[in-house]
């Protein structure tokens, strides 16, 4: 018997097929309808989970339904629907590759749904790769030299790094013969891996899955890829969602392999990622690349929190996943709205936009403050929970270090917002508020503000942070 989650995948597959076969004008509305249907079915899936459905099988693939995957499922469908609505206005019938865009969009969402549900670690890798392939083609959607350069970089860095995780799988399979994410931790704690095997497994997995989470050292392709992608794709595919979800899952499962020294190394990698993202944000001249760097900073928080390995810290990482996804998506879409009106993303060439685009300005500023951890938005709750997780794990220094990284980020985003919206005006008379493009941003703004003001339901779900 088919469950609601079957219909999620089926509706998106129908959306992809219909987009390929229908007139160009219809592709956007079809994709939007398919994604709204997927959102409805995912909500029904969560309802079924609350009713006691735990580990169904989806087209032969066992899937997980737990607080993290249920929230991630709803998050994916919400963002997919919002970004599909944005795409309807941004990627119109006049675009020469409109059909390819919407077919790939639906395939991307199918893969993202599978990433958030799949129970087998090796299949997580496979769907992770499918997300990458769809994203690479979408990043190069414009087909000009810059977009293709970004696609090529994305392909080489992501595919090669992800393949490294196969070394970890080889060690896992030869030693514990278990790939089930729910029982892997238990199996590893009972297995006897040599120190070399444990390190090989842990670090190859971290590198393999960390690449799309923007782990420091592997982060350099992110501003290129998300800077050149169409705004809805940057908003949907930014590193927080698939990359950090996988990091939380994998690091939780591999906790038994982590010695205190490994935990320290991964925590430091998380903090370095925070600083790298914050400093890159400060140095960015292109506002869309700046938002990509903001996402790297957020990713550092999730890596730091996941590395601590306590139930509290995993819950804090999950809270960051939800809030940062919503906020960063809002930032990408707001920047897309600015770009569509002004025709430039260079901060130096923008200025005085507040007069012509006050709603866009307020939405951008609110999202920028939210991602920096300023109350009362969801970013504040998420970052505060990471600081508390660090303190509870006896790593006060880590919370101080991460907070100072956020301080740098706050300075960078305020400075950028000031130059864009309040700096010397540059021919703003002709500019108008792109109302249609702002509706999705307003929805995201309401969601992350709501999660900041009323975090209790989500906190209870993730374990009472």
């Amino acid at each position: 018997m088919w469950l609601p989650v079957h219909y999620t995948i089926a509706s998106l597959a129908v959306g992809a097929a219909a987009s390929a076969a229908s007139p160009k004008k219809a592709c956007g509305p079809i994709t939007l309808s398919a994604n709204l249907a997927a959102l409805l079915f995912n909500l029904l899936t969560v309802k079924a989970w609350i009713g006691g459905l735990a580990t169904p099988v989806l087209f032969g693939v066992p899937v997980i339904l737990d607080p993290l995957s249920c929230v991630a499922l709803v998050l994916v469908s919400t963002l997919a629907s919002v970004c599909a609505a944005y795409s309807v206005f941004k990627i119109g019938a006049e675009d020469p590759h409109v059909r390819t865009y919407y077919v790939l969009y639906n395939l991307l969402i199918i893969s993202l749904n599978m990433v958030t549900m799949v129970r087998n670690a090796l299949l997580l890798y496979v769907f992770f790769e499918l997300v990458t392939f769809a994203a690479i083609l979408l990043v190069g959607h414009r087909r000009d030299s810059k977009a293709l350069e970004a696609s090529v970089k994305y392909l080489f860095v992501c595919a090669a790094s992800s393949a490294l995780s196969l070394i970890g799988f080889a060690v896992l399979l030869s030693k514990v013969h278990v790939l089930d994410l729910l029982t892997l931790g238990q199996a590893l704690s009972e297995a006897h891996l040599s120190p070399l095997e444990a390190k090989l497994c842990l670090y190859s997995m971290l590198l393999g899955f960390g690449v799309k989470a923007g782990l420091v050292g592997l982060h350099f392709f992110i501003p290129d890829a998300y800077g050149e992608a169409p705004p809805p794709i940057s908003a949907l595919m930014h590193i927080t969602l698939p990359g950090n979800y996988s990091i939380i899952r994998i690091l939780t499962a591999l906790q038994p392999l982590m010695l205190p020294k490994d935990q320290l190394i991964i925590s430091l990698a998380g903090i370095l990622t925070v600083y790298t993202g914050a400093l890159m944000t400060l140095a960015s001249k292109d506002v869309k690349r700046m938002v990509a760097c903001v996402a790297i900073e957020g990713s550092g928080y999730i890596i730091l929190s996941s590395s601590l390995g306590t139930p509290y810290s995993i819950a804090a990482a999950s809270l960051c996943l939800v809030n940062f996804s919503l906020i960063e998506s809002a930032l990408f879409l707001a920047v897309g709205a600015v770009h569509s009106e002004t025709g430039t993303r260079q901060v130096d060439q923008l200025g005085g936009l507040f007069k012509a685009m006050p709603v866009t300005a307020w939405l951008f500023i609110a999202s920028a403050l939210a991602i920096s951890g300023v109350p009362p938005f969801g970013g504040f709750t998420a970052k505060l929970s990471v600081y508390m997780a660090c303190v509870k794990a006896g790593k006060m220094w880590a919370s101080l270090a991460a907070a100072s990284g956020s301080g740098i980020l706050l300075t960078a985003v305020i400075w950028t917002a000031h130059r864009m919206f309040f700096g010397p005006p540059r021919e703003v008379e002709r500019l108008r508020e792109p109302k249609a493009l702002l509706v999705p941003v307003v929805i995201l703004f309401l969601l992350f503000t709501l999660l900041g003001l009323y975090p209790a339901p989500l906190l209870r779900l993730f374990g009472g942070v």
């Binding site: 496979v126 190069g140 090529v152 090669a160 070394i167 799988f169 290129d224």
Partner: protein, 195 residues
């Protein structure tokens, strides 16, 4: 897998890669197709291999995709490598040294050398098709390593092989798009993104 058939099966991809690195991709494609044929008949020769079905698929499919790409793309030999060929020896020697230190079996060593040559092609070759070939070789070698380490069954082998195949397909399509847009396959021409 054990025995001379195994050595032959595993050595051919490395030979194909080395051929691609120093000479011409056409030779290496021919070697990969021979390898796929050998893998196909390996069970008849008494090879109780678990890695063979996946490798048959990925090797044959990868060779086909790159052969198709080469038909469309000219001047794939035009760009010289970033460094001299001596670096190739270093890349091949590193896994040999590691394997001897760690006492790894020879069948694992072949995959590691193949992966190292893949990394060499990705990082040193300026030609996009050759670099893509290196990427696929790297992925395929690690997949082979995984198949050697444990029996993962057809349910897992098939999607993993599909990932390698899709990487080959995607990298060829991207190379084609880059050639049409930029007019060159030289990766150094892809430096237009600014901070």
């Amino acid at each position: 897998m054990t025995g001379p058939v195994e050595a032959m099966l595993l050595a051919i991809p490395v030979a194909a890669l080395a051929s691609a690195v120093v000479k011409d991709l056409k030779y290496s494609l021919a070697a990969l197709i021979v390898h796929a044929l050998l893998c196909t008949i390996a069970p008849a020769l008494g090879e109780p291999s678990e890695a063979v079905p996946a490798l048959v698929f990925s090797v044959a499919a990868v060779a086909t995709v790159f052969a198709a790409a080469l038909r469309v793309l000219p001047s794939y030999e035009a760009e010289p490598p970033v460094t001299g060929s001596w670096v190739l020896i270093v890349f091949a020697a590193v896994p040999v040294v590691w394997a001897s230190i760690l006492g790894l079996p020879s069948r694992v060593l072949v995959f590691l050398v193949s992966a190292a040559l893949g990394v060499y092609m990705m990082s040193i070759r300026r030609n996009l098709v050759k670099a893509s070939y290196g990427l696929v070789a790297f992925e395929n070698s690690l997949h082979g390593l995984l198949s050697q380490a444990a029996h993962i069954g057809p349910l897992m082998e098939t999607p993993l092989s599909a990932v390698v195949f899709l990487t080959a397909l995607l990298s060829s399509v991207l190379a084609l798009m880059v050639y049409k847009t930029v007019g060159s396959l030289d990766t150094s021409s892809l430096r237009r993104l600014e901070w």
